[in-house]
């Protein structure tokens, strides 16, 4: 037995070498044309189906292999920081600014201007909830409607958690970030008042998942939730929730694209930026979903709303 130690060990080693070679060879797959471009996007954007729609067009136009992974904004930006993806398309201006300030981005060129963050579409967040609207937020008017609605939900929710509930993304996504902004604008300390410093608040639920999953959960719990309009329209068929609040400055939702400095395909990423802002694609974005839902899921880039460039 002892005499054959080396033989067996050699066999195992040989197999390990084969595996290593396979790893390196298979991992290189896709380096021949077309060129691979990896993009991380938010689940909110991806679940609407817009990316699947644009993917083939971009691949044909730029001879690329567009590979899109959908995560929460936080996770998407993390992939961008590490350079595991070449570009990110997200919708959280604060965190995008931090990403750029952290020197993780490359400047893109659009309209002969150079900028790290390039906006390319927008829509609105809305607060949806059960048709019965137990917290009575459906008919608010005046300015500051989202904040007022959130206040009502918190007050009524704490008083009667079996009737008034709120479901949150709870996943550090762009939508979650926007939700926290509105809670703050409503005068709450998110950790203390909403999360109860860790103790379960019977009226507030965090799914830690994407928009689709969160909407499904809110539907089951007959709860309110904050969602972007695009995803909501895409899921409306399978939900009993209705839009209750859709006006308010705080509800604007702007999508941007950022080239990742640690990525490996800066030129193809620039192609993506140019693509998203080109007039014909902008027209497609504006018209996306209109036949099925009767209204647009997205609005094309508007300097007045999205900012320049």
């Amino acid at each position: 037995m002892k005499g054959n130690w080396p033989k067996i060990a050699l066999a195992v080693l040989g197999i390990a070498v084969i595996v290593l070679v396979l790893v390196m060879v298979l991992g290189r797959g896709g380096q021949t044309e077309p060129e691979v471009l990896k993009v991380a996007t938010t689940t909110s954007l991806y679940d609407t189906g817009l990316w699947d729609y644009l993917e083939d067009i971009f691949e044909d136009r730029c001879n690329a292999d567009l590979q899109i992974t959908a995560k929460g904004t936080g996770a998407a930006l993390e992939l961008g920081m590490n350079g595991d993806v070449d570009a990110v398309t997200v919708h959280d201006p604060d965190r995008e600014a931090a990403f750029i300030a952290g020197n993780y981005s490359l400047n893109a060129t659009v309209n002969n201007t150079s900028a790290a963050r390039v906006t390319w579409a927008y829509n609105y967040f809305i607060i949806v909830g059960p048709e019965s609207d137990p917290a009575g937020i459906g008919n608010l008017t005046g300015s500051g409607v989202p904040e007022e609605a959130f206040q009502k939900i918190q007050i009524e929710g704490k008083a009667d958690p079996d009737t008034v509930r709120f479901v949150s993304r709870g996943d550090e996504s762009g939508t979650h970030g926007k939700e926290k902004v509105i809670w703050a604008a409503s005068g709450y300390n998110y950790t203390a008042d909403i999360l109860g410093n860790g103790t379960a608040q019977g009226w507030y639920f965090s799914t830690g998942q994407g928009m689709g999953a969160t909407l499904t959960t809110a539907n089951q719990l007959l709860a309110y939730t904050l969602t972007d309009k695009g995803t909501f329209l895409a899921y409306q068929g399978s939900l009993d929730l209705v839009p209750l609040v859709d006006t308010g400055d705080d509800l604007i939702n702007i999508y941007s694209v950022i080239i990742c400095k640690n990525g490996t395909k800066p030129e193809m990423a620039q192609n993506l930026v140019t693509f998203l802002r080109s007039p014909d694609i902008q027209a497609l974005v504006a018209g996306f979903g209109v036949p099925q839902y009767g209204q647009p899921l997205f609005y094309p880039w508007d300097p007045g709303i999205c900012g320049l460039p």
Binding site: M1, A11, V12, L22, E55, M81, N82, G212, Y235
Partner: protein, 228 residues
């Protein structure tokens, strides 16, 4: 119950119509899990033999650790592979994160403890008399090991089948290191996860049924091998 029935009919419909997206993800599931199971088996059968047939200090502790790793969550394996192969990580220069290769590696890591543990167990089940008889008849160490493996082949193949089952059914690792990218790293389990999150339960259950159907076919084939 109607949802289950609707899902069943949907599964049949997807299969019979040879729905291209379903064929694509099913093929990818089989390729990735089949490769990881094959490679892991190639490594683990000799390695398990090595461990079983030699006495060394810490052998019991090693087997303990192997069996403990049966309980490793798939998402934890995914995290491990992610951190290792991220471009910001130590093996990032391979650039294999968010590719099927990373998924194969992840599944290999996942099922290795399982394969090792159960193959060692299979070898332990072979009567010591066989080993003694072989040695006394002049068999070399290598020949003896091969003999015992053949004696235990039923249980060894059962271990391989289980390894394949764990590989093809896992979600956490595939989702994290593959990224569920359409046309590239999307497999049946990550699609089930995605469709469930989107609320399309019917499609999710249908895909689950298709996965089980594939597993049935694979197992029938492997079973024939086992009975020989």
């Amino acid at each position: 119950m109607t949802e289950l029935w609707q899902a069943f009919t949907k599964a049949l419909e997807l299969l019979v119509s040879l729905n291209p997206e379903v064929i694509e993800i099913a093929g990818r599931s089989l390729r990735i899990s089949g490769t990881s199971c094959l490679l892991a088996s190639l490594i683990c059968i000799p390695l398990a033999s090595l461990i079983h047939f030699h006495q060394f200090p810490g052998k019991r502790a090693l087997i303990n650790i192997i069996q403990t790793l049966f309980s490793v969550p798939t998402v934890l394996v995914g995290l491990f592979v992610f951190v290792l192969f991220s471009r910001a990580g130590p093996l990032g220069f391979f650039g294999i994160l968010l590719t099927p290769t990373a998924m194969v590696i992840g599944q290999m890591i996942l099922i290795t403890p399982l394969l090792l543990g159960f193959i060692i167990s299979a070898l332990s089940g072979v009567s010591k008399e066989i080993v003694d008889t072989a040695t006394s008849l002049g068999a070399s160490g290598f020949q003896t090991i091969w003999l015992v493996l053949r004696e235990a082949r039923y249980a060894v193949l059962a271990a391989v089948i289980m390894g394949f089952g764990r590989a093809i059914s896992e979600v956490g690792c595939a989702l994290l290191v593959g990224g569920n990218m359409r046309g590239v790293t999307r497999v049946i389990t990550t699609t089930i996860s995605m469709e469930t999150a989107k609320g399309d339960f019917e499609l999710a259950i249908a895909l689950g049924m298709i996965l089980l159907f594939l597993a049935l076919i694979i197992n029938t084939i492997l079973n024939r091998l086992q009975q020989r």
